[in-house]
Symmetry: C2
Subunit: 206 residues, 2 copies
Amino acid sequence: MENRRIVLASASPRRKELMNQIGLEPDIVISHIKERVTSSVPSQVVMELASQKAEDVAKNQEPGTFVIGADTVVAADGIILGKPSDHQEARRMLGMLEGKKHQVYTGVCIIRCGEPGRAGEKAIFFDEADVEVAHMSEAEMEEYAGMEEPMDKAGAYGIQGFFARYIKGITGSYANVMGLPVHLVYQELKKLGFWEMENRTGKESQ
Amino acid sequence: MENRRIVLASASPRRKELMNQIGLEPDIVISHIKERVTSSVPSQVVMELASQKAEDVAKNQEPGTFVIGADTVVAADGIILGKPSDHQEARRMLGMLEGKKHQVYTGVCIIRCGEPGRAGEKAIFFDEADVEVAHMSEAEMEEYAGMEEPMDKAGAYGIQGFFARYIKGITGSYANVMGLPVHLVYQELKKLGFWEMENRTGKESQ
């Protein structure tokens, strides 16, 4: 069933793991474009960035290939948090998150590269979830900010790691909070015909 | 910090993984008691069973050891779903879950075995989460029920596996749905003094 080529335009091991979970085996091709953001609305920002990554990678792919780009940010009291640049910034971000709810946005862009007899297609969407973090003491924030876990993650925490001890609950998709709402990716891939027929990419291209 | 002995009275690899995530390294000791349920209320059922497992294992432990028992059930329209006995039952359970919300209950019992100068203590609690499953076609349910993934799991699905493609979202703790609400376990272990001092179990017992 899953014999079409699919490319994940992201270096995140968590996104790859999520795709593996639902039975997809993506190749990884990382985009090195300079990101351009024209909005300050979290849902728009993540869709813009997901789209730029996917477009950049898609232009070098064979017809019929599916390319997935994604971007995740955390929004606390309207302020967008990306990845912390150092442990001190991680500590500051944790101070903005502890003891309350914040939002996590992941934007996704899926491109089906044009192939013979079928134009290229693109789907862009986002998912949003609320995450509630328990009260954390100074010592707990210091300890966690000093670890490696928060350093490559938007908002300076990983929901699936050590930080799970501080997650009171979420409303929405856990996969979204991890970095890729795979339930939506699955539905969109169905719509785009990923599973519609046996491997078409073997056809002669023109 | 985590140098006290902690025992997980459960064979679930997911519960062990969740404890590892938050920095705990439990020994596994499985209870073989005959489970007795006196209630049909899901929250009561899971607390009863968690308690029976923990009590059974605790009676053979050294003073000062912490023992954790847990039990998880799925409730769909008020009907409690345990683990399916075969693929056909898994298929029936999926039919009760697809296209709507259901509830997941995990009961937890933590016992601190009595030690010199300090009586044994016990904490019993449960957590509840709502899970929304996407509409699934007959073919999708047949495919999933035929896999191994659903066979050892309450409600015949694993939220952290292939089934993630059908999870629209949750309200509550993802760890609870996986089988152990580690944020509550962490808080209760703090209250019970798990992290309060260096290893006391080295003291002479009497």
